[in-house]
Symmetry: C2
Amino acid sequence: MSGMPQTTGQVSRAAGWQVIPGGKPADPLDVLAGIGMTITLPRDRELHAQGDRAEFCYRIVSGCVRTIKLMEDGRRQVGGFLLAGDCLGFGTLDSHDFAAEAVTEIVLRRYRRREVEALADRHAALARHLREMAARDLRDAYDRMLLLGRKTASERIATFLLEVAARQASRDKVVLPMCRGDIADHLGLTVETVCRMMTHLQREGTIVIRPGGVELLSLPALRQMAADPRH
Amino acid sequence: MSGMPQTTGQVSRAAGWQVIPGGKPADPLDVLAGIGMTITLPRDRELHAQGDRAEFCYRIVSGCVRTIKLMEDGRRQVGGFLLAGDCLGFGTLDSHDFAAEAVTEIVLRRYRRREVEALADRHAALARHLREMAARDLRDAYDRMLLLGRKTASERIATFLLEVAARQASRDKVVLPMCRGDIADHLGLTVETVCRMMTHLQREGTIVIRPGGVELLSLPALRQMAADPRH
DNA sequence: CGAGAATTTGAAAGTCGTCAAACGACGTGG
DNA sequence: CCACGTCGTTTGACGACTTTCAAATTCTCG
């Protein structure tokens, strides 16, 4: 279940990040522009396996990535889904604690961790930004623990939908690039339960299920449901 | 076969101090010595509440601390337990994402985050160490997500006992300063289930329950149970 | 249009939670 | 020093939410 041969997709050189009209770099990670490489990967390709030496870290340009922890018997926990702009592996020890796979075809910027670390030693601002990224990841992780440890199935689904919606420009049309199984393994549920809960939400008139995503009809109803153990 | 890291879960465990041949312990956090203050708190006292501005961060000198997230209706998730040497709040955004409370009477060293950050900007080695601490926290958090999302009650208990044992000098006599309710809220279970599972382990001859802790009679049996969904 | 995969729905089973009560440890006061 | 009250732990019976197993339906894509 671990490392597929590292035959990556197309690897291409890339120009730097988008420069803002004004001329000033607005992104603290801009200092990395010179040491990165742009890469395209097909759907379901592994960025890295669980246990791999952490040589690289990444920033998603487009597409969706999932992080995965596996048990020997096949049980799976999806740690999270990364979208455009999200970073991966910047705060990692010697080896990756989880695998990362492309949910859709993805374009990403790849950096050598060695170089990032060296750069961080010279640029306190970058170092600080890396700490902030880690802090945000940690905050999200604690929220997820609460969800996995204490929330009911319907609360998990509602929470998830609101989370994804908050990360996408459109408030109400939510794109779900990942399959039900991924969502289930992310929320600590089964595929069937995810389906049932979403169907339930649809019957209640809270959402509309569409191929590739859902439409949120009532954010208040979802928010209510995200913290209410009863249906 | 990729690695299945079996790590303990909690906030900012200090790395083992490597002893340098010369004879001095080289703790990267030694640079903080001058800006810290030693504090003693009684049992159940809050270090900080959920949502508090994150003015301070801490390092446990002695005793045990629990981190807690609360929902409005009272449901509680204990993020982790901190023991002597562990750090808390070094990688935090503007406000604390969770509360921290003394499980036992504790002695701790308190630092002003502002000063730590300033110091980190000047000392790349400290900055790097802070990133490492965050990385360890994050790794632990991912392990916990797998536990909360996919492990059965007995697996959770076995995992927990092994984790605590690994952090204490004595391999087999494990001190549990926290009550059953804390353990339950840490593992996403109820008090009753925690009791039942521990009783079960005792009847199987795997552990002996003693006031204030447990004695581990068979680590292999526990390790087996930590990854086996069946009893 | 057709095959395979993903999603959805249904029925039955099981694990864990809920409710309730007994038991035990501990600290205070008599 | 022991009685007693309180709090935490343990045990039991029952119930329910979720899972499991199975099958129908829909979607995707060649």
